[in-house]
């Protein structure tokens, strides 16, 4: 297991992509088959433990480490796994160095109840080094945060065998734990017999953000324009089984049964899932009520019917059209949707325009609770996963800007773990001397210097501490940028902001000048 711990540390401490790939491919080349499959499962985030949670891990230290000392340490270190690993009482005589990742993971998998797992962990921690304790907790609680995306993993795997990154990409979603035949296939053998290539998820083609400099660089007549719908990206696989996948390739068919379509011929559609009823598209909040359901009741199906707005087509009746240019795929898409004639599926219409200024006004006037801006797509671009350059651009509407007051602060994660960097902000409920109501949370948008200043401000103005969270004296105003807002009965304030982030810190602005809740509600159209 120490090899895997070392791998994680090397990945954490080396931010260069090349170095990370070297470490990963070295690991995969030097390890046993069993270690490889577990490492792959953990690094690709497909291994998930549901038995123990953060509080169970904390519980393990009770009676072993003084509670105050734990809190002081946790506050300083900022990461539970690391604090735990450094505090767990060491007994050098019991430490065993020889356990492999696979033997550890398979014993871990044998623990079927929480109680068994806790006993198992207590024994395990007493026999291993702090680094291994750290790794174990990271594996159990998830969130390795070592900067390894599945893309990077695929690229590293392309270095150890005879398969290109594209080939790996194409078949990636057809393999799952214990990855039978995967490493053999990487080495040039054919795909395993049971491999199902029909229902495979295909990684999405994504867009790059548009910036004004591109106006001089790209030829406007080569691009088409359509709206950027504010739902969730999805992929419909029409096949013998019929599947719907999320942006990460997760099978979400059971949440959206109205879009499951079976056919002997395979077709794959790329589009946006939205809730639409009687020609009205609902806000993202309504869509959220449909996400993550295993079963969908009749009532929900009729109250919040889901609709798929198609952007693109990847396979047309068994024909792979991804290498065709966008405008040709569009013809296939139109034909397909017309024949399909499905009440819950339509095409994202192209918007006519002749000039940049016209485009800009389309973008700014697209204000609507289900449109985020516009998409520009190169007519000649093939369908390629990832974010290929010069192909697709998203041009978002300028965000809303409003001032709010910081109410709570929480320590950040990863690099920022010793700083208070996540903030809950709010505004006045009625008039400016009474109480504040929280509106949202924001954690991005400032430089390291600002982060340090904010951190200091939080420490100097703390009212109360609740674990990693501190409530602070109302006193600091921040300008929040957000893309959209909607009514929401899940929030105390009754409204929900989309993608709030701190735009600037208004060190000088008095809190009395911040607006009241009703002013914010008026922004919703």
């Amino acid at each position: 297991m120490i090899d895997f711990s070392n791998l994680l540390d090397n990945l954490l401490l080396n931010s260069s992509k090349k170095k990370k790939i070297d470490f990963l491919s070295d690991y995969f080349q030097s390890q046993t088959q069993q270690n490889k499959i577990w490492a792959l499962s953990i690094l690709s985030k497909s291994f998930v433990n549901k038995l123990v949670k953060v509080k169970d891990i904390k519980e393990l230290l009770k009676g072993k480490v003084d509670e105050d000392l734990f809190l002081y340490s946790y506050d300083y270190v900022g990461d539970l796994a690391e604090t735990f690993s450094l505090l767990w009482p060491k007994d050098n005589s019991k430490i065993i160095n020889s356990q492999s990742l696979s033997s550890f993971m398979s014993s871990l998998e044998k623990q079927t109840s929480k109680d068994d797992l806790i006993i198992f962990l207590t024994n395990h921690f007493s026999t291993c080094l702090p680094n291994e304790i750290y790794t174990t907790i990271k594996i159990l609680l998830g969130g390795l945060r070592v900067g390894v995306s599945n893309e990077l993993l695929k690229e590293s795997l392309s270095k150890i065998g005879s398969r290109s990154k594209e080939e790996i990409e194409e078949n990636w979603y057809g393999f799952s734990f214990p990855y039978n035949g995967f490493f053999e296939w990487l080495n040039g053998e054919s795909l395993p017999k049971q491999f199902n290539s029909k229902d495979l998820f295909h990684s999405f083609m994504l867009s790059n953000p548009f910036n004004e400099n591109l106006i001089k660089k790209i030829e406007i007549k080569n691009y088409t324009c359509e709206y950027k719908w504010d739902g969730i990206r999805g992929q419909i696989t029409v096949s013998k089984n019929g599947k719907i996948y999320s942006r990460n390739g997760e099978d979400i068919t059971s949440s959206f049964p109205e879009l499951k379509i079976k056919s002997d011929k395979v077709s794959v559609l790329d589009g946006e899932l939205v809730v639409k009823k009687e020609n009205t598209i609902f806000s993202f909040n309504e869509l959220q009520k449909r996400i993550g359901r295993k079963k969908v009741s009749k009532k929900i199906l009729s109250d919040l019917p889901v609709h798929f707005i198609c952007y693109d087509i990847l396979f047309f009746n068994n024909l792979d059209v991804r290498k065709l240019p966008f405008f040709e795929r569009r013809v296939f898409l139109q034909n397909y949707i017309k024949k399909l004639n499905h009440p819950n599926i339509s095409i994202s219409p192209l918007i006519n325009f002749v000039s940049w200024s016209e485009l800009r006004s389309i973008k700014e006037n697209s204000f609507n609770n289900h449109i985020e801006g516009i998409m520009l797509k190169n007519k000649n671009s093939i369908y390629k996963s990832g974010r290929p350059a010069l192909c697709w651009y998203k041009w978002k509407r300028d965000p809303f800007l409003e001032d709010f007051i910081i109410m709570y602060a929480q320590r950040g994660h990863g690099k920022r773990s010793s700083f208070y960097s996540d903030f809950t902000f709010g505004c006045w409920i009625e008039n400016k001397i009474n109480t504040l109501v929280p509106i949202g949370k924001a954690y991005s948008g400032f430089t390291n210097d600002e982060l340090k200043k904010l951190d200091k401000w939080v420490r100097d103005n703390t009212l109360e501490r609740f674990g990693p969270v501190r409530s602070v004296k109302p006193g600091l105003v921040v300008e929040i940028a957000f893309d959209n807002l909607n009514f929401s009965n899940r929030h105390k304030s009754g409204i929900a902001l989309r993608f709030p982030r701190i735009n600037r810190i208004r060190w000088d602005k008095p809190i009395e000048e911040v607006c009241i809740l009703d002013d914010i509600k008026k922004l919703i159209n």
């Binding site: 954490l12 401490l13 105050d68």
Partner: protein, 331 residues
């Protein structure tokens, strides 16, 4: 501690002796525990310190190091207006001392910075009994258990062997850590020339005059092309500034007790963390307090809360002596 040792704006002040200990701004009379810049500052009128501390202050501050100086040997007793003063080794860096004060039968020890591990470059910490012990608390959290320094130093040697195409740029505190690290490397048989940033060279040359053999050292400026495999030491602040950009294919290391914590390592963009500290770790702090067995403990200089909470539970009469102006040394 009665009222004869008090906290003032300029630092810890001994009323009957009319002197400060490690003052943060210039005063008439100062006792200096050791030559680190947050303890030994320039422009005091009169200083009392060990020979090594005074010599290093002279190298650092030149004419401003003080107006008049008085040397004191370890173990030597001096009477200042009825206060008996004695300096004993603190094991922190060359010339570092704990200061023992005795006034009207009451004994106080100001520990300064200290460590308990073996260090070839200085005399080991000496236990002395007292009524009040003023201890530092730089690493006063139970997460700090400094590992064996030989194992840590070997990581540098192994990394150089395994990555012979890369320059190893290692951040070390200029005074103490740098020379201790070099001695440890030499003891493990590392005989190559070590390249030093100018800021480290002056102090290292001084160590050699004190007959501490550091082997072959060269100023970084003496070499134009680094082929890879060289070991370069620099102050921590230089690791990421413009100076360090001249090294192309580089592994960056940092030798410090802080390197225990992954997120600290990550924040500082370090690839090769080496945990060697010139301060006592958690267990050493506690053991030291036990051995000194004072009636009162005052904690300063670091993470005081955790140590205070622990000592209180153990029945010590203790408090925090919040002295300003002391930074985390290795930062």
């Amino acid at each position: 501690m009665k009222n004869w040792l008090i906290k003032k704006k300029s630092g810890l002040f001994c009323e009957p002796g009319n002197f400060y200990i490690d003052p943060i701004r210039p005063v008439d009379s100062a006792l200096i525990t050791h030559a680190h810049t947050d303890h030994a500052r320039p422009n005091n009128k009169k200083i009392l310190a060990t020979k090594e501390t005074i010599n290093i202050m002279k190298i650092r501050y030149q004419d401003n190091y003080c107006k008049t100086k008085q040397q004191i040997k370890y173990g030597e007793k001096i009477n200042i207006n009825g206060v008996h003063v004695k300096f004993v080794p603190a094991g922190h860096i060359i010339g570092s001392a704990q200061i023992l004060l005795e006034y009207k039968g009451e004994k106080v020890i100001v520990s300064g910075d200290y460590k308990r591990r073996y260090d070839k470059t200085c005399q080991p910490f000496e236990i002395n009994k007292c009524d009040t012990f003023i201890t530092e608390a730089t690493f006063a959290l139970p997460v700090f258990n400094h590992p064996n320094d030989k194992i840590e130093v070997k990581k540098i040697i192994d990394s150089i062997k395994g990555n012979s195409d890369q320059v190893h740029l290692i951040g070390v505190y200029a005074l103490g850590k740098c020379q201790r690290l070099i001695c440890l490397l030499r003891d493990l048989g590392f005989d190559e020339t070590i390249y030093l940033h100018g800021a480290l060279l002056k102090i290292s040359n001084y160590y050699e005059t004190e007959e501490i053999d550091l082997g072959s050292l060269k100023n970084v400026t003496e070499i134009k092309d680094f082929k890879g495999g060289e070991l370069v030491l620099c102050p921590p602040s230089a690791l990421h500034d413009r100076w360090s950009q001249k090294f192309k294919n580089v592994i960056k290391g940092f030798v410090s007790g802080w390197m225990t914590i992954r997120q600290r390592i990550k924040q500082k963009n370090i690839n090769l963390p080496i945990v060697i500290s010139d301060h006592a770790d958690w267990n050493e702090l506690i053991d030291t307090v036990k051995e000194v067995s004072p009636e009162n403990v005052l904690v300063t200089h670091g993470r005081e809360e955790a140590l205070l909470s622990f000592l209180k539970k153990k029945g010590y009469n203790c408090g925090s002596l919040n002295l300003l102006g002391f930074e985390d040394e290795d930062d």
